[in-house]
């Protein structure tokens, strides 16, 4: 007979953390393979195709970087929120709100302001839009103890409907031939891209600066310490005199604001007009949750995990075309990866020993 014994690990080294994450990803890929097999697709070919599609060619790599931009911004903000165990599931709505505010500024002053000022204002407006939307669930949670998972999700739906309402109604562009969507933003409102790619580098630079600042905040400031205490031991936080209200508001201001910036990036860098919500953000807000989780809520690691999941998005598009798999495939891949990542945490915190003995007890 064999017996499973579970011990608590005393310490967690970064190396073990990396090993556990790798193990989780491998296990997840194994299960994903089974899903592919059931779909009648050769899993090795499909998974190979995902990664060759995203990292195997210059074109794929450039696309991966492009898709990583919103994931870095949003994932970084979520890492901060999740550290305080504030479950912001509303990044999708916050991205949309950023795009909405950016559109508003872009359409209103596109013709009169110089590009630099205009784009700065758009990013600022996007940040404010996302931040204000993020403040709502924070207020609701602290003042009325309303579960933030539900409130952030409801706001996602509300934002999506709001944007649709605007683009079929008052904001509908005269140049769209009756189709929903605003007019194109003026050239001054558009972000430059690296030639031969869709990488809107201004947003990329903002994203990298954001995670750098975030990691300083999390690991080097009193505020970051408070965030961690709130997440790990709220009781102790209360006794230590941490202002939950203020801290939570700031967390959501930053988390929502960064998502809003990502929304402006998508708007001004990729789409150039406000269209259907699903085209502005195809689930970045949800993928960013997994990005933050894979990064172990460390803002610096978000850079790496955002690239990984951007790769899956790009590679997922590639296999959709070449293997005829539906778009939902990426969602399954992401979901399976996420559940394996959190299941892996158990083995990070515990040591499971299999022992064989002759006398079963």
């Amino acid at each position: 007979m064999f017996k499973l014994t579970v011990y608590d690990r005393e310490s967690i080294t970064p190396l073990r953390s990396l090993a556990t994450n790798t193990g989780s990803i491998v296990a997840a890929l194994f299960v994903i393979s089974i899903v592919f097999l059931l779909c009648g697709v050769n899993p090795l070919y499909a998974i190979g195709k995902i990664f060759s599609g995203s990292f195997g060619s210059m074109y794929g790599f450039k696309e991966t970087v492009t898709k990583a931009i919103p994931l870095i911004l949003t994932g970084g903000g979520l890492a901060l929120a999740f550290r305080a165990k504030f479950w912001n599931i509303g990044a999708e709505g916050q991205i949309l709100m950023g795009a909405l505010m950016g559109t508003w500024v872009g359409l209103a002053w596109g013709a009169v302001l110089p590009s630099f000022v205009l784009i700065t204002l758009m990013f600022l407006a996007g940040f404010i839009g996302g931040a204000l939307l993020g403040l709502i669930p924070a207020l609701l949670k602290i003042k009325f103890s309303i579960n933030e998972v539900i409130s952030t999700l409801m706001l996602n739906y509300i934002c999506a409907e709001l944007i649709t309402m605007l683009i079929v109604g008052p904001w509908k562009g005269s140049t769209r031939f009756g189709f929903p969507g605003t007019n194109n933003l003026a050239d001054a409102a558009l972000l430059d891209v690296i030639p031969g790619s869709r990488i809107h580098y201004v947003t990329l630079i903002l994203a990298i600066i954001a995670v750098l600042i975030l990691s300083v905040i999390v690991y080097r400031t009193r505020f970051g310490y408070e965030v961690r205490v709130i997440g790990e031991n709220p009781e102790a936080g209360k006794y230590a005199g941490i202002d939950f209200f203020r801290t939570t508001l700031v967390i959501m201001l930053v988390s929502g604001g960064l998502a809003g910036v990502a929304g402006v990036g998508e708007l001004a860098g990729i789409h150039h007009y406000l269209g259907y919500p699903a085209s502005i953000s195809s689930g970045y807000g949800f993928t960013a949750i997994i990005v933050a989780w894979l990064a172990k809520l460390n803002p610096m690691y978000v850079l790496v995990s955002a690239m990984f999941f951007a790769g899956i998005i790009v590679g997922g598009d590639a296999i959709q075309i070449s293997l005829g798999l539906p778009g939902a495939t990426v969602q399954i891949v992401n979901g399976i990866l996420l559940i394996f990542l959190i299941m892996g945490d158990y083995f990070l915190k515990h040591k499971v020993v299999v022992s064989f003995s002759n006398n079963p007890s």
């Binding site: 539900i150 739906y157 079929v168 939902a328 399954i332 559940i339």
Partner: protein, 306 residues
């Protein structure tokens, strides 16, 4: 006029049915101490499986059975992660939703836009359905409606009046003490999560085989999340869930009632989500304990720890 009132109320009942099924399932699950945010995903899987089976076999009852099995099966994932591996239940539930939505999108791809030749037909209960006003409202409904009401009442009786029900509740309040009474808390929680999955899948089956007779991606439209809010609204009581679910059913119907007034349909589509927030706001005057929330909801239970 009376016809209009009956028709509106009838549609309210229909719209409330999946919400009631989902809420009762979530109440059972949360009462045992496990928060399951996977409802939206499981509902979606239930909807697609029920649609596919009805489409291929023409038997909506078989489809319901298949949907329930699928819902239970996929819920094991959440049970394993949150009970056995003590993982974070919020994230695990979200993962379940992603997997569920993805899986249903993938399985349902070939069936998008195909109408069902058969559906779960409404059943008029003899005698009772002839009662004026009340009859057509409550006794000329789809079998899902009857099942939802009966299951809600049964779940109430089970949780509040039977010994196993007390075990479920105490597992959510104080798993350590429950374990000392000789109850296998882990097993019990598995059972509750899986039962919750069965209910969510039924709700999904209602959507695709009775409510709309078609499958499109995202047809659950946030109902799984509204269910989670309704669980709070009903104070974790399946009996009160009946009222909550049909109030929200009314909100869904209100959208269509107001549309002829020239209000933007997108604005009206916000109604259920705004109402959810408002209802939670109205509930929040009391503190969490008074709300009757299970004390250990969402907290992983580790055997032998105090």
């Amino acid at each position: 006029m009376e016809d209009v009132v009956i028709s509106v109320l009838h549609r309210t009942m229909v719209a409330g049915t999946p919400l009631l099924l989902g809420t009762v399932g979530e109440v059972i699950c949360e009462r045992s101490g496990i928060l399951n945010l996977g409802v939206e995903g499981v509902m979606s899987v239930g909807a697609v499986v029920a649609f596919i089976v009805t489409y291929t076999t023409g038997n909506p009852w078989l489809a319901l059975l298949a949907a329930i099995c699928a819902g239970m099966l996929i819920s094991v994932l959440h049970a394993f992660a949150s009970v056995t591996l003590q993982a974070n239940q919020v994230v695990s539930g979200l993962a379940l939703t992603m997997i569920g939505l993805g899986l249903s999108g993938m399985l349902g791809k070939p069936y998008v836009g195909k109408p069902l030749a058969v559906k779960m037909n409404d059943v008029a209960i003899p005698w009772l359905s002839d009662i004026p006003f009340v009859g057509p409202l409550f006794f000329k409904q789809s079998p899902f409606f009857y099942m939802a009401i009966i299951l809600a009442l049964a779940a109430w009786f089970f949780l509040e009046r039977t010994l196993p029900g007390i075990k479920v509740r105490s597992a959510g309040e104080n798993p350590g003490a429950t374990e000392t009474q000789g109850v296998n808390v882990a097993l019990l929680r598995y059972a509750c999560v899986i039962t919750g999955g069965a209910f969510s899948a039924m709700a999904g089956a209602h959507l695709s085989t009775s409510y709309s007779k078609s499958w499109i991606e995202g047809m659950t439209a946030g109902r799984g999340w509204i269910v989670i809010a309704l669980t709070i609204f009903s104070l974790w009581n399946p009996g009160k869930a009946i009222m909550g679910a049909f109030i929200f059913g009314g909100v869904f119907v209100l959208q269509y009632l107001l549309q002829p007034l020239g209000i933007s349909p997108n604005f009206l589509a916000m109604l259920p989500y705004v109402s959810t927030l408002l209802i939670l706001l109205a509930m929040s005057t009391k503190d969490r304990r008074k709300l009757n929330a299970p004390a250990q909801l969402g907290e992983p239970y580790k055997r032998g720890e105090r």
